[in-house]
Subunit: 263 residues, 2 copies
């Protein structure tokens, strides 16, 4: 099975993208709703939770794992993952690769904006990875801690949400960035609000879509693994806590009712 | 020692009120920052955390405990507390008593508004307690799930916060309530925004102040316990995670630097 985890239900945007890219393959999802959100917690705490979540997915039969939470991915270290033999994907690497393929090796300066939680932005991971491979590229990261609660409340089209999005994006707009990475799996739900406020000429990179494309390519290149993945039409969504708001957001993401299983 | 816990740093408004009401008495505080917030989680999960937090405070020498989190207090049952021999206070009971003393036994209808997290409002505890003792009183509760994240971000005077406060208070204002209970320990930090938006004639009841007054009266009536409480000038603030935002909010509440100890 393909294992996916997030601090809550935001990572379901990744699960939904994987479902579309790899129809028929079984998914096992874990949303840590009893401890959500991760983005405002410390790196040590997030690392501890990440390790527990990976172990949980393996115990449920995952043969490949996607860390569908930018906050978790941003503090995960190679050392942490070195003990695992299964492939582990995260939402950050494919988004960075997409940025690099866009800015190319041009001599002209490109400006790339990143929006994410406080944990993701403070980690500096996007800037480090992009600037290491493309030194001519300038990366500007903006933390947007209120967007996750706004999305979880379902305030996707409220005036206050538009104002807060505009406030957060203002510095990036002033700098006239060329591309904007949605560095949190909740943000695709706000894409329609973000595009006009950052400017229509700015290319938006959605880390959920990038990681599902990346997993798809990997499986094409590794047919033995691909053929061993189960295809019984049985996606399972585990959560450490069940709330009505989570059920509503899951329904919004998938466009259908999602049964949540309490761990 | 006097033990106090909350899901995060909001309960420090209670600790600060207790410090002023009972100067010199040692406090031991616990803020569950690794799992904050509680208000959007399920009653079962919040109950489990509450029990763990009470046990932690007892292990640190608490002789009296204050549940300084409305979400935790709203789902706590008598059965849960029946095993403990030390006195346990919560933020809800004293606020309810204040409401009852205000509305009196008048035949005229009083209307009381309650604002709180989703968990607190869904529990219906304020309505049940007030209406049981004062059937002529009408209680209207409004959940305000975005106020905790806004306070934790320090957005105490931003335009968006004012708009969101106005939006949440609108139904209560239309009903012309007589009193408003701040049913979350974060909300005293927004009192200046709330008063003009609910109307200056509406009496605001702050559960943090009520519970500290209630503990003070209890100790006056129980001098043996009062005399046995330590007074070594050593307040300790434990947290399950340390973040800069928490340090900043703690400083805002106390008006001085607070050292947080990681459990």
């Amino acid at each position: 099975m393909i294992g996916i985890f997030d601090s809550g239900v935001g990572g379901m945007t990744v699960a939904h993208a994987v479902e579309k890219a790899l129809p028929g393959f079984d998914l096992v999802y874990f949303g840590d709703l009893a401890r959500t959100p991760y983005g405002s917690k410390s790196p040590d705490t997030i690392r501890r939770y990440t390790q527990q979540n990976i172990d949980f997915l393996i115990s449920k039969g995952a043969q490949l794992i996607i860390i569908a939470c930018n906050s978790a991915a941003s503090v995960t270290t190679e050392e942490m993952l070195s003990g695992y033999t299964l492939p582990i994907f995260d939402v950050i690497t494919p988004a960075v690769q997409r940025v690099l393929s866009m800015v190319g090796k041009s001599d002209s300066k490109s400006k790339v904006g990143i929006i994410g939680t406080r944990a993701t932005v403070k980690s500096g991971i996007y800037s480090r990875k992009i600037e290491a491979a493309a030194p001519h590229c300038r990366v500007i990261a903006q933390e947007c801690p209120l967007l996750v609660p706004l999305v979880e409340e379902g305030w996707l089209d409220k005036r206050e949400t538009k104002m807060i999005v505009r406030r957060y994006l203002h510095p990036l707009r002033t700098l006239q960035i060329d591309a904007l990475v949605l560095g949190c799996t909740h943000y695709p739900l706000l894409k329609k609000l973000i595009q006009p406020r950052i400017g229509n000429r700015v290319k938006i990179i959605d880390s959920s879509e990038e990681v599902s494309a990346s997993v798809q390519s990997y499986l094409e290149a590794h047919p033995t693994l691909k053929n061993s993945l189960s295809q019984n039409g049985g996606n399972r969504f585990y959560v450490s806590d069940i709330t009505e708001a989570a059920l509503a957001t899951a329904r919004k993401i998938f466009g259908r009712r999602i049964d949540l299983l309490k761990t």
